[in-house]
């Protein structure tokens, strides 16, 4: 039985608790948060503390707090030589204080309170200072996901950067689409099947194979028409940059 303590209880750690709860190989023996949290059903039996000096003895401590708080928070832990990991894509492993054995347990997904996610498919990127800890993280990861991969801090930084493109920036394009429709009093729902199919396509086609559209075809008439529709619009810069890039491909 792998004993786990969760440090911080935001998006990631609350989803992790959901996934690790009722797991025959793992026991989440405690949740710590600097502010008091009421553990609600089905987690009401999991011990909670807001006292950093009362953190229980465990095999793995998982810090799930904002990136810029990881260093000072890990420094403030009163124990040492234990396996302490963070869940960040962007922070290096050595952002953690050196007094503990350091590691990373990064679930490559976007989490929000409102939405359930299927952990089974989520890649979990692990890293550790020593092989035994890496194996323990792998064991932990494999209880919830079919895709546990060792990835160095350097590669993880690039992976996180790529994630920003396909998640944050893609969502911004959804936002632009939505705004263009709003101006015409058309419902955003009209675009939803297209958005779903665009994402679904790359399950079987490479993005290169899936690429279509006026810029790709170098359909100058349509491009001109679109630029005209975007006159005096801040989205025009986006249109021009994408069109230029797609023509080059």
């Amino acid at each position: 039985m792998i004993k786990v303590v969760l440090l911080g209880f935001g998006n990631v750690n609350s989803h992790l608790l959901n996934a690790l709860h009722n797991n025959s190989k793992v026991s989440v023996i405690q949740v710590f948060n600097r502010n008091i949290i009421k553990m609600i059903s089905p987690f009401e039996k999991i011990p909670f503390t807001d006292d950093i000096s009362k953190i229980a003895d465990a095999d793995i401590y998982i810090i799930g707090i904002p990136d810029d708080a990881i260093s000072s928070f890990s420094e403030s832990l009163s124990f040492q030589n234990k396996l302490v990991v963070h869940t960040s894509g962007g922070a290096a492993m050595n952002a953690l204080a050196a007094k503990n054995r350091r590691g990373v347990f990064y679930p490559l997904q976007t989490f929000s309170k409102q939405r359930k996610v299927a952990f089974k498919e989520i890649p979990i990127c692990i890293e550790a200072e020593n092989p035994a800890d890496l194996e323990l993280l792998r064991k932990l990861g494999e209880t919830i996901s079919e895709n546990v991969v060792e990835i160095s801090s350097e590669k993880r930084a690039k992976l996180h950067l790529a994630a920003v493109f396909v998640n944050n920036f893609v969502n911004h394009l959804y936002g632009i689409g939505s705004e263009i429709l709003k101006d015409e009093k058309l419902p955003f729902d009209l675009l939803k099947p297209l958005i779903a199919e665009t994402a679904s396509k790359i399950k079987t086609l490479s993005p290169e194979e899936a690429q279509t559209g006026p810029a790709k075809r170098n359909d100058k008439k349509t491009i001109e028409k679109h630029l005209h529709l975007l006159e005096n619009n801040s989205y025009r810069d986006f249109y021009e940059m994408f069109t230029k890039a797609l023509k080059k491909d």
Copy 2:
């Protein structure tokens, strides 16, 4: 029974045939294409012609050929005063020759030969010069889709523009993500669950509500790190433009 002739047999019209085939209220009585096509199973019984003077008598003619060919092709049809529609998002209704009754039957989706699509959810945007034809197009649309909407050429042009953002440009971002990973010899598969969830989120959240990431949080440290990772990289321009726009939101 609505009698339909398909003019051109590319991505759209072949998917339309799939959807209209075995439809109790519609009969596709002929397919025309300028080059000979062998109609393969299950369509081997549908009459085919490559002779423009032998196009059969029908209630609706659906032109599914590239936008810039619509005008001259519709002009070259030998009949007149029939309902002739195109399937384009970007072309105006009056791109069609005026000798026939004009209309539009635009399925708002991305079609490729390799992939099946569920027409039931695809918005079908219709337009016609007269009310009776509009009703006929609505009837036709409703045999395959639950979302048939009348949309003018002006609004459809904006809708198509929005579609370019959420489809073509989004796919280009998938491509950038894939390239960043390739440089690190990491498999694109790592990003697939994130891409799926990002698209899935906007089924229930608005793009605004779903927006996360370093730019949105104005997490300067991460942004700096990413810009550094992108040094001398053409993707840096994209990163900067999105970051600037997201900060403003």
